[in-house]
Structures are given as C-alpha cells and as structure tokens.
C-alpha cells in the first residue's frame, strides 16, 4: 500500500526540483545575502573612515583607512584584447599582496562585452561584476550613457583627489599627464578613471616614408592630400581601414575631427553643446558635412582599398605590415596586437589627418572610454571603496611601466612621461604617438554624450550613416543626401524624446 505512494513521491520530487529550477531563473536578488551582511558588518568601518576611530590603528590600512579584517572579493571583468593580461595580473597580484583581505574573482575574455551585457540584463546586483571593462555591448558610448542615466554606475570623480600610492603627497590629478581635460564625462560626471591613453589615427611605416621621401607630418589638409597623391602614384593604397567595422575609419575621420573643424570655424562651444546634448543639427551640421566631403574627396583619389567593406581589422593592418598600404587607421594597440607579424625593419610612425589650412591649428584625436573601468553602483559600500582603491592602484609607476612595456599602451602619469628612461620602455607605436604630440598642437576629445536617445529613429540615423561610410569612402555615394536623410531621422528622434 505504501509502494505506490513512494513512487508518486519520487515523481513529485522530480517535479518539485524542476519547478525550483524554473523559479530560480526568475529569482531577483536584492543583495539580501552575504554582500549585505558584509556591508552591514563593515558599514561602521567603511562609510566613514573616521568612524573607525574606536578601532585601533592596526585594524585599518594607513593608506585608505579601510579595515584589514573584512574580507572582500571583487568580481572583475577584464577585456582581454591586444594589450594582453600580463600587466593587469601584475596589478592584481601586487594589490592583493599589499591588501591581503581583498581577493579578485576575475573573468578575462575578448568578448567581455557579451558577458557584461548578459549580467546587466539579468538584473542581479549580487551576480554583477564589481569592476568591469568600459567595453560594453555595441562598443559605443550609448549603453554607458543609459547606465549612467539609470544610476547603475558609480561616479569616480573623487579618485582625482586620491593620493598616489607611490608618490606621497601628490594626488592623481597632480600626477596625470594631461588627460584630465579630455576625460570622458557622462552627464558631467566621470565614471571610469583612465589607466592609460588610447590614441587613434593613422599609423605608418617610417622606413617606407623615409625611403620615398614622403611627408611624415602634414600640417594642413592640402599637405595631407598631396601626400595621398604621392602614395597613390607609387602604387600603394594610401589609407587602409577595416570596412567590416566602419567605426575604424572614424578613428581618423570621426567625431574628434568634427570638433577640430568646429574650432577652425569658431563654432566649438556651440558644436560641443549640440553634440553632447543631442541637439540638431548634427549629421547635417557644417562640421559633419565638411568631414564627409573630405572623405569623399579622398575616395575620388582612390585613397582607400578596393573592396574595403570586406576587410577585417587584421586584414587591414596586415596590408600596412606587408607594404600594400602606406597608412592604416587604427590605434596605438596595433603594435602589440600584430607583434607576431611585424616584419624586420618596420618602424612605427603616427600622424593625425589635419582638417584645416592653418599649420598651427590644433589637431584633435579621439580619447576612448576604453581606458578605464566602471564600478557597479548597487554594490556594498566596502566593495566600491576597495574597487576605487584598485583603480587608483593601476596608476602605480610599476604597473604603468608594465602597461607600457607589455600592453603597448600609453601611460598617463607625468612623472613617467618626464622620465626618459621610462619613456624608452614604451613600445614603438605609442612612442610615435608621443613624438607626434610633442611636435604638434594636439587635443584629446571624448565621444561621450550627456544623454541618450531611445527613439528608434535615432538608431536608424546612426545605422544609415554607418552603412554609408564604406560607400562614401569608395566614392560610390555622395555624402550630402545621406547626411540630410540621417539628420531628418535625428530630428524626429529628438522631437519624440521631448
């Protein structure tokens, strides 16, 4: 009599297990587990460093007043890209040696944006990373703006006043090498303290240029087009870029160049306000039209490769390394990324495409939000404090040195940049960038905006322009009609949002 009951029980248990699994997928954690417990127990020590006055001095670290006895695990999402991971592993290793109560649960991936995006969408604060790469799904600033607007990101402006760990008395702002002005702001706040500079523009082989007597530092648009003509006459592709990802052309002919044109036109302040706050005109603004006209002018000169739309970034950069193309539109990471394919005798050079006719005008370059990490706002206070400590730790000279040597990046400390011995440790491509900056008046610019447009017409306008870039660069399409069409869509999107 009991046997059927047992078997039905077994069946019911199976059903219950499956139901529990189903319920778990909809479970919304509100930090009610251990993170809150950690926050509760550590609140008295973390929220106000002076609140730990009752504890003895040996219970807190002298650098930051944070408790030694509270174990914290920081979930960290690191974008494994051309920079590699050796330098970040060193930073984690040295940080945890200095602060043994802090440990890291690090996820490395070249597709970290997909992982981050999934966790953001899951809406589980406990499962979300504490610190994560600024490479978000889509790669552009749109998602970061949305996250900032929703209060999901922790502001990091206070880190500029953080004392450097290895330069007592000086704050990070005092040791920065000029990146403060070009830092990425969203809604007037900084959400990712840069750990390095990423500069994009045209990279070339100095050896090739020297052999042919080509101008390595054109100061005006006229000089630049003259250079393009000479390269074309020599049978090479003047400028290569991966058309499969049209954003790469924007590294040389992008938003920053529009700012440069606005400055030339005496319109910088208005253009900056219009751009940051999504005000029309943008696509049909004089600056945008002028920029795309310049691209079209180069297209008519056959400055870009045939079939450019099919090129991946590897193929495009290989065209440069193999001497098929004279210049490639990319970033300073290119040397580290392609290190196994660089032929002997290849010397890295860098230039920006000047937009104006005045040799002395300021050349603008793109600063990327990729140099930095976000902190998730809805985490326990102690976690966020330690996260900020770690981000400040990345400014240590030994970490910066490894970042320069192994990752091929550009450091951001003035005491690094002013030390010839340390500068010598930079890889050649970043050195070429510094050389250009030393010989020209340059200014970094971020492409971040202060708000986001959620109307579908804004996305259609962006998509229309992205799809048209290759056709404009191939000389198959004149820019103005497409720009006007995109502008009409943008105006509709702005009106819908108001």
């Amino acid at each position: 009599m009991f046997q059927p009951a047992r078997r039905w029980s077994a069946a019911l248990i199976c059903l219950i297990i499956v139901s529990m699994l189903a319920a778990c997928t909809g479970n919304k954690e509100n930090g009610s587990g251990s993170p809150e417990a950690r926050a509760t127990t550590s609140a008295s020590a973390s929220t106000e460093p002076s609140a730990s006055s009752e504890a003895s001095e040996s219970d807190v670290y002298p650098e930051n007043g944070l408790p030694k006895d509270e174990k914290v695990t920081l979930k960290f999402a690191y974008w494994e890209n051309g920079s590699g991971r050796e330098w970040i592993d060193y930073a984690i290793d040295t940080f945890t040696k200095r602060f043994p109560n802090v440990s890291f649960d690090t996820t490395y991936s070249p597709k970290i944006d997909t992982i981050i995006g999934t966790k953001i969408s899951a809406g589980n604060d406990e499962d979300m990373f504490d610190i994560f790469s600024t490479l978000l799904p889509g790669g552009g600033p749109a998602m970061a703006t949305s996250l900032a607007e929703a209060g999901k990101l922790e502001p990091q402006d206070d880190l500029w006043d953080h004392k450097a760990f290895d330069n007592e008395g000086k704050t990070l702002k005092e040791v920065q090498s000029g990146i403060y002005e070009g830092r990425t702001l969203i809604l007037d706040k900084m959400y990712a303290l840069p750990y390095g500079q990423s500069v994009t523009g045209l990279f070339y082989n100095k050896t090739l240029f020297e052999q042919n007597g080509w101008n390595q530092n054109p100061k005006t648009w006229g000089e630049f087009t003259e250079l393009v003509d000479k390269i074309k006459a020599a049978g090479l592709i003047p400028i290569s870029y991966p058309g499969k990802y049209p954003v790469y052309l924007g590294f040389t002919f992008g938003i920053s160049q529009m700012f440069e044109l606005a400055e030339i036109n005496g319109n910088l302040e208005k253009f900056n306000d219009d751009y940051r706050n999504y005000k029309a005109p943008f696509y049909a603004s004089p600056e945008s039209v002028s920029l795309y006209d310049k691209v079209y002018e180069l297209a008519k000169k056959k400055a870009f490769p045939d079939g450019v739309a099919a090129l991946t970034h590897t193929q495009s950069q290989m065209q440069l390394l193999q001497g098929q193309a004279a210049m490639a539109s990319t970033g300073e990471w290119v040397q580290n990324e392609m290190k196994d394919s660089i032929p002997d005798g290849f010397k890295w050079g860098f230039m920006l495409a000047p937009m104006g006719d005045n040799p002395e005008s300021t050349k603008y370059y793109q600063i990327f939000a990729g140099g930095g990490h976000f902190i998730w706002a809805n985490k326990p206070d102690l976690n966020k404090k330690w996260a900020k400590e770690f981000l400040a730790w990345l400014w240590n000279l030994d970490v910066q040195q490894l970042y320069a040597e192994k990752a091929g990046g550009l450091p951001i400390r003035s005491d690094f940049m002013n030390d010839a011995a340390l500068v010598d440790k930079l890889q050649d491509a970043p050195k070429a960038v510094l050389e250009y900056m030393a010989n020209n008046s340059v200014k970094g610019n971020s492409e971040a905006r202060n708000k986001s447009l959620t109307d579908t017409n804004a996305e259609k306008a962006r998509k229309l322009m992205e799809e048209s870039v290759n056709e404009i660069a191939s000389g198959k399409k004149e820019p103005l009609p497409t720009l006007q069409q995109a502008e009409d869509l943008l105006v509709k999107a702005i009106a819908a949002q108001q």
Binding site: G138, G243, L311, S452
Partner: protein, 315 residues
C-alpha cells in the same frame, strides 16, 4: 459484484494486482521520461518565447524601467525600410539556398544509394564532413576563399585565364549577397544527403528493376520513383531548411556583418543588432521583429503543407 469494484477481494487476486501495477509503472515511466524534457522545454523555450511577446509591447533598453507602448513597435516595424530590406535578403537566400541544398543532396544521395560506387562509404564521410564543422569555422574558411588578395576563388579563376585582380567578393554590394549562398549550401548539404541516402535505401530495388526494364533513365527513376516515395522526408527537409535560412544569421555576421552597406543584412541579424548592437539597445523593438519572424515562419510552414500535401506515394 464485478471484479474491479471490490478492492478487498481484488487485493487477494494476483492477476489484478499485477495489471494495476503494470499500468502504474507504465504511467510512472512515461512521467519520468517526459517531465524533465517537457520542463526544460517550458523553462528554456516556451517561457522565453512568451516573455518575448510581452517585451514586444515595451520600449525597453534593458537598463531603465520598461515603458508599455502597446503596438507602437509593430507600427514602427511596418514603416521601417531596414526590416523590408532584410526580409528581401531572407527571401533571396530562401529561394536559392533551399532548392540548391535539396537538389544537390538528392542527386548525390541517389548516386551513392543506387550506383554502387566502390568507395561509397568514403564519399559519405566526405560529403558529410562540412556538417561537422561549426558555422564559425565554415564562415572563416569561406572568408579566406573570397579574399581579394590571397583568396582561392580569385586564384582559381586566374588558372582558367580569368584575371579580375584583387576583387573582394564580400566587399561589393553586387556580389556579397550571392557570395553567402555557397558556404550556406556547402555547410547544409551533407546533413540532408545522409538523410536522403538512408531514406532511399528503404526503397525496394524491384521498383527500379521494373523501371529499367521499361527503359526508364536515371532522371526518370529519380523524379518518378525515388522522389515521390521519399516525399515526406523531402517535405520535412524543405521545412527545416527554410526555417534555418530565415532564422540563421551567424554565417552572415562573420562573413560580412550585414555589409557592405547592409546588402547582406537579414532579419535575424537586424534583430540581433537592435538588441545587442552598437547603438541604443531596444529589446522591445527587437522582440517585435522576432514576432514578425515567427509569423513568417508559421506562414512558410503552412505554405509548404498546402503545396506538398498528397504528393507522396507508398510502396
């Protein structure tokens, strides 16, 4: 009093107990066998799909609070020229890849099943081999075939005296969409070839012998005997191919990323980019496009049923 209405009496009868026990065990086995899979289907397939219907009524970027917009997303969809352009590309691929795969698989399967080649087993392995490769591997392979500078295709054409220089087949709007077809066919034909070979092996040889005696050629035997007899399997193959072509976009994502200039963008890729691309994410609008895809696929299934019903034969 009937045998079954007196439980006390029945308990004393072994035959009745065993019968009941057997029935109970059968039901329990069915339950244990089906519940996990069914539960998995509900949790991982049905529930997300129903949720997607709900999302299609929202304006939601996955970060801020969703806003209910009713049928606005569907209204925008109807006016969105990118949707109709993507649908055109889907129809081009469906109209070329599906018949090409079916025809090639049928012919190869017929030859292997009926010609009795010495190395039939080896041919089966060779033809099936592309199917074991992942979509990524197939796409990367064909990306190199189509490369302008070092690609196999341009090199092969030069062997035959056709020199088109460094032509990038995936980089030109006129050829990119057509260049998607060969890797799609190459990757899919092997699977259906194996299915058709097995189906053809069940057809009695006597039918072919009779046809040969009547003077029927291979073509007549294939289309008048083989195809009608395996029509149910062909119908299923066509259905699966159409569904796959409409839904799939992984190969396009890797080969062209929807370019050049959107000339290879399909509905699935457009939907993917709206949900996860470089602009503002709009899960609501992406879900609405997903609903459109669902309607199209249901319509395709009904169309196939309508035009291929009563076409099969039995032996």
């Amino acid at each position: 009093m009937s045998e079954l209405s007196n439980p006390v009496a029945n308990a004393a009868v072994p035959g009745v107990n065993w019968n009941r026990k057997a029935k109970f065990q059968k039901r329990l086995f069915i339950l244990l066998a089906t519940v996990p899979m069914f539960a998995g289907y509900i949790v991982f397939t049905l529930y997300p799909n129903l949720l997607s219907v709900y999302y299609s009524l929202l304006n939601w970027d996955g970060i801020k609070e969703p806003v209910f917009v009713g049928l606005d997303n569907f209204g925008n969809l109807l006016k969105d020229e990118f949707v109709w352009r993507a649908l055109r590309h889907n129809l081009i691929l469906m109209g070329t890849v599906t018949p090409a795969v079916i025809l090639i698989s049928l012919i190869l399967a017929y030859l292997i099943a009926n010609k009795g080649y010495r190395f039939s087993s080896l041919f089966k392995v060779i033809f099936f081999f592309p199917n074991i490769l992942s979509t990524v591997a197939i796409s990367l392979l064909w990306a190199f075939v189509y490369d302008g500078s070092f690609g196999l295709l341009n090199a092969g054409l030069r062997l035959f005296g056709v020199d088109i220089g460094n032509y990038y087949w995936l980089g030109e709007t006129g050829t990119a969409i057509w260049a998607i077809i060969p890797p799609s066919v190459w990757g899919a034909a092997g699977f259906y070839f194996v299915i058709f070979v097995n189906a053809m092996s069940t057809i009695p040889k006597s039918l072919y012998e009779a046809a040969i005696l009547e003077g029927a050629s291979h073509r007549i035997r294939l289309f008048n005997i083989t195809v009608p007899l395996i029509m149910p399997i062909i119908r299923i193959a066509v259905l699966f191919l159409m569904l796959g072509v409409f839904k799939g976009f992984e190969n396009i994502l890797i080969l062209t990323n929807g370019g050049p200039s959107g000339s290879t963008e399909v509905l699935g890729l457009y939907m993917f980019n709206i949900a996860f691309g470089s602009g503002i994410h709009n899960y609501g609008y992406a879900s609405a496009i997903g609903m459109l895809l669902f309607i199209i696929l249901v319509a395709a299934k009904l169309t196939i049923d309508r035009f291929t019903a009563n076409r099969d034969s039995e032996f």
